[in-house]
């Protein structure tokens, strides 16, 4: 597969316009990656600011208003500008066409449009920050959000616009998976990351419109005074919560399903072993995506909804837990009788298993209505969703970046530094968020700028470790991009981990502008480590 080194999508064609008007899914993916990581750093700095304020009780660093702005922006940026758009947008865009053997996604122009819609929406978010922030929490609960004098409208407008980008990307991916697979690549031969993106896309196109409508209603209420959610105008704030969580619970699966897909790739490749329970993982992705639509009420256990609703929502919530649990066991059993290498992606995958298991199990506590009433809106919930969102999604995202980095960009990072950073992320993360479970159990409410003395010890402990977490993530990402600066190139035909899916076996690193030199022929499944030996090649 070794051919002219200069013919790759990064260097050909050249010029700024060839990037701004590119229809190449890989370039669009790279632009998503860079903007996503910038927002990730921005959200991370805000988080460190919050932890600094919470290191001790009282307002010693920032005022209540500033704290409320910071925590709102942290949540909104991380969720709406980084996790939801950036992971499918970056890794999904770069890899999906390669994995199905296509030259590009089904609608390349639509793909570029998605990126520009995302950027346009992001401008509103940046405007919000420059113009003094927004202080409602990322949930925008009414009637506070209809009465707040902060920038609720620019922020919700930004989220509304970014929603379209999500919908169009989802549509594009679904069409690509259905129509662009090469002959012989049947559904059950697809890499599981493709299944995960397919499930994610289904949720994106079905759930996002509900969020868009909710945001429009909120803006109508503010502009025209139509009473929908504000009781002062005759509306109902609980209706807002139903609308909001009808999107935002499925959105949790938009965030976590791609992570499941990444882990389903990393573990078999780095264990050189056929994945355990392929069909189960594939179908559970779809069933989790579906059940995710039926459990939104568990965010509202203290809102005063009827006892019957509480029982039903608690019951259905556990149906998400069971398939997720079986998935975790499948990933672990994949290593059985394999050849496991402790590479940076594998370290991230193993820490994902550790952290996501804690995140999932603490969800069981919150699903039990009687216990949730004590834990609702306390730090227990904060710790729980960070274990899922950061310990799960972001750790998997970092693992995926390390896994596909040499493939996507043709350079290899320093693996020792990458491993040290992976350990730092793991330790820093647990140090930051594990104490928060205890804080929540002891009654510390969330979204507090100050707190009483009984919580000092755990809060300062959490702040200390958050610094280590921040440094580790920062250096992990710098280490990746440093490989560009050092020009530590891998061979164009290299396959450093011995991957078996099409992106490893049939394209060069970095890939050709048209992905494949010749039409790829399907030869073996993505996990056929029991049938074919694919050599690990890195440098000559």
């Amino acid at each position: 597969m070794i051919e002219n080194e200069k013919q790759n999508y990064l260097t050909h064609p050249k010029g700024i316009m060839s990037w701004l008007l590119t229809l190449d899914h890989k370039r669009i993916g790279l632009m998503y990656l860079v903007s996503g990581i910038l927002f990730f750093f921005m959200g991370g700095l805000l988080a460190l600011g919050m932890r600094l304020e919470l290191a001790a009780p009282g307002n010693d660093f920032i005022s209540n208003e500033q704290y409320n702005n910071i925590y709102t922006l942290h949540g909104a940026i991380m969720i709406f500008l980084f996790i939801i758009p950036a992971i499918p947008g970056a890794l999904g865009n770069i890899l999906l066409p390669l994995m199905v053997g296509a030259k590009d996604v089904a609608f390349p122009r639509l793909n570029l449009a998605s990126f520009y819609i995302y950027s346009f929406g992001a401008l509103f978010a940046l405007y919000t920050i420059i113009n003094g922030g927004v202080d409602t929490g990322w949930t925008f609960y009414t009637p506070y959000s209809t009465q707040s004098s902060s920038n609720v409208v620019p922020m919700t407008l930004g989220i509304f616009i970014i929603g379209f980008s999500s919908i169009l990307t989802g549509l594009n991916f679904i069409a690509t998976v259905h129509k662009m697979r090469i002959p012989g690549l049947t559904w059950y031969k697809l890499p599981l990351f493709v299944w995960a993106l397919y499930g994610t896309s289904l949720v994106q196109i079905t759930a996002t419109p509900v969020l868009a409508i909710t945001m429009v209603l909120l803006m109508l209420e503010r502009f025209l005074g139509i009473g929908i959610f504000d009781p002062a105008l005759g509306g109902d704030p609980v209706l807002y919560q139903h609308f909001f969580w009808f999107y935002s619970h499925p959105a949790v699966y938009i965030m976590i399903l791609p992570a499941f897909g990444i882990i389903s790739e990393i573990i078999p490749v780095h264990s050189r072993k056929k994945i355990w329970g392929y069909k189960f993982i594939a179908y559970s992705t779809l069933s989790i995506a579906f059940i995710g639509f039926l459990v939104w009420g568990h965010h509202m256990f203290t809102s005063g909804q009827s006892v019957f609703s509480q029982i039903v929502f608690s019951f259905i919530t556990y149906f998400v837990g069971i398939p997720t649990g079986v998935k975790i066991f499948s990933w672990i059993l994949t290593m059985y009788k394999g050849q496991v290498s402790f590479t940076p992606p594998m370290i991230y995958a193993l820490s994902f298993l550790f952290l996501f298991t804690i995140g999932g199990l603490t969800g069981i506590f919150l699903g039990a209505v009687a216990l949730d009433i004590h834990l609702h809106d306390t730090y227990f919930v904060v710790a729980h969703f960070h274990y899922v969102m950061q310990g799960g999604t972001i750790v998997a995202f970092l693992g995926g970046l390390h896994h596909w980095w040499p493939k996507s960009f043709g350079t290899m990072y320093n693996q020792t530094i990458a491993n040290i950073c992976a350990f730092g992320v793991f330790l820093g993360f647990n140090g930051t968020f594990f104490p928060q479970f205890l804080l929540g159990l002891r009654g510390m409410p969330r979204r507090y700028a100050t707190y009483s003395d009984q919580f000092v010890e755990l809060h300062s402990y959490s702040t200390f470790w958050s610094g280590i977490l921040g440094f580790s993530i920062f250096f992990a990402i710098v280490n990746l991009f440093w490989s560009f600066v050092k020009k530590n190139k891998v061979d164009p035909g290299s396959n450093p981990w011995g991957g078996m899916s099409l992106e490893w076996t049939h394209t060069s690193s970095p890939p050709h502008p048209h992905n494949f030199e010749t039409d790829p022929v399907f030869e073996h499944g993505p996990y056929d480590y029991d049938k074919v030996i694919v050599e690990k090649t890195y440098k000559k």
């Binding site: 506070y144 994945i275 649990g325 050849q339 050599e535």
Partner: protein, 324 residues
């Protein structure tokens, strides 16, 4: 026997259903711990046992990718555990929603950023909920403005306060004492200061307290009464007495500026006197001090004339105190 553990994880158990909820927690906790250890030990064991040795050639690995026995176990054991959790969660929950008929009813109102409590025999307290022990107490909750949520950790109970409908919660306190109340639904600048206390008294003591409630504090000098009201009526949530600005201007500043001009955000100004202070308490939205947000709720109906006089006297006394 698990007392030290309960102390470690939870605040005290004060309501009748607290121990049941804590036990549900321990059930889930130990089941989760077992599942978690299986995951971690399995993960560590398999990854080390099957690690690629140095210079080991790549080989075809096992094609084993399913085991009916193991998969059934992974399905059935968690299913049994979550079924128990679900049923336990619902049974305990029903105990928390079915209010005993003989419960005394107290009206709780959340206002940004304090709580008021109206008692069945008349009388009202602010940020201090007084209840008798070993008696069911029913709270009827609502809000005057945005959403709030009323959380008493020691009772393991919490309920949102909505501006347009009433929610109900109840508890039966088993131990006398003073315990924290928090607001757990974000409600703006003063959210983290919107705390209160529940004071659990012996029933006889409560009766005595309730009969005295609302009686005039005529015997106390005005400025001392004002000093007491400063915390009781939650002025301290937003106004300091040491000159530093919080959500609102410090009382000390107001005190030092007595007989001087104060500028408002619409450019007008007025001389600070007793009438200004009185109207700032009763109609806080009419004149907003420049540099601050007009977020203070009205105290109309929450303070009687003597209490207003007391607060005015107290504010005036601050200046003198600081000069000593």
């Amino acid at each position: 026997m698990f007392d030290w553990l309960t102390e470690f994880f939870f605040p005290k158990q004060v309501s009748t259903f607290a121990s049941d909820i804590d036990n549900l927690f321990y059930f889930i906790f130990y089941s989760s711990l077992v599942l978690f250890l299986i995951v971690v030990i399995g993960m560590v064991y398999l990854s080390i046992r099957y690690r690629a040795r140095k210079d080991e050639p790549l080989r075809l690995t096992s094609s084993k990718d399913h085991s009916n026995l193991l998969e059934s176990l992974f399905f059935i054991i968690p299913l049994i555990l979550v079924s128990i959790t679900f049923v336990w969660g619902i049974r305990s929950y029903l105990k928390m929603v079915i209010v005993p008929d003989d419960a005394i009813e107290i009206k709780v109102t959340g206002v940004s950023w304090f709580w008021t409590f109206d008692y069945p025999d008349g009388g009202q307290t602010l940020n201090e909920l007084v209840v008798p022990s070993n008696t069911p107490v029913k709270l009827v909750l609502s809000s005057k403005d945005v959403l709030h949520s009323f959380f008493i950790p020691v009772m393991r109970s919490k309920m949102d306060c909505l501006p347009n409908r009433y929610n109900v919660m109840w508890f039966d306190a088993t131990k006398e004492g003073v315990y924290d109340i928090f607001c757990t639904e974000y409600c703006g600048t003063g959210h983290s200061a919107m705390g209160a206390q529940v004071i659990v008294m012996k029933p006889a003591q409560y009766e005595e307290w309730a009969s005295e409630l609302g009686a005039d504090d005529d015997s106390i000098p005005l400025d001392e009464l004002g000093a007491r009201l400063y915390t009781q009526k939650a002025c301290n949530t937003c106004h300091t007495q040491d000159g530093s600005a919080l959500v609102g201007p410090s009382f000390l500043q107001t005190s030092q500026m007595y007989e001087q001009e104060r500028v408002f955000d619409d450019g007008t100004s007025t001389v600070i006197d007793d009438n200004y202070v009185r109207s700032s308490i009763l109609e806080p939205q009419t004149q907003i001090v420049a540099g601050y947000q007009g977020v203070m709720p009205t105290y109309q109906g929450l303070l009687n004339d003597r209490e207003l006089d007391a607060l005015i006297a107290y504010i005036k006394s601050l200046n003198g105190d600081s000069q000593i």
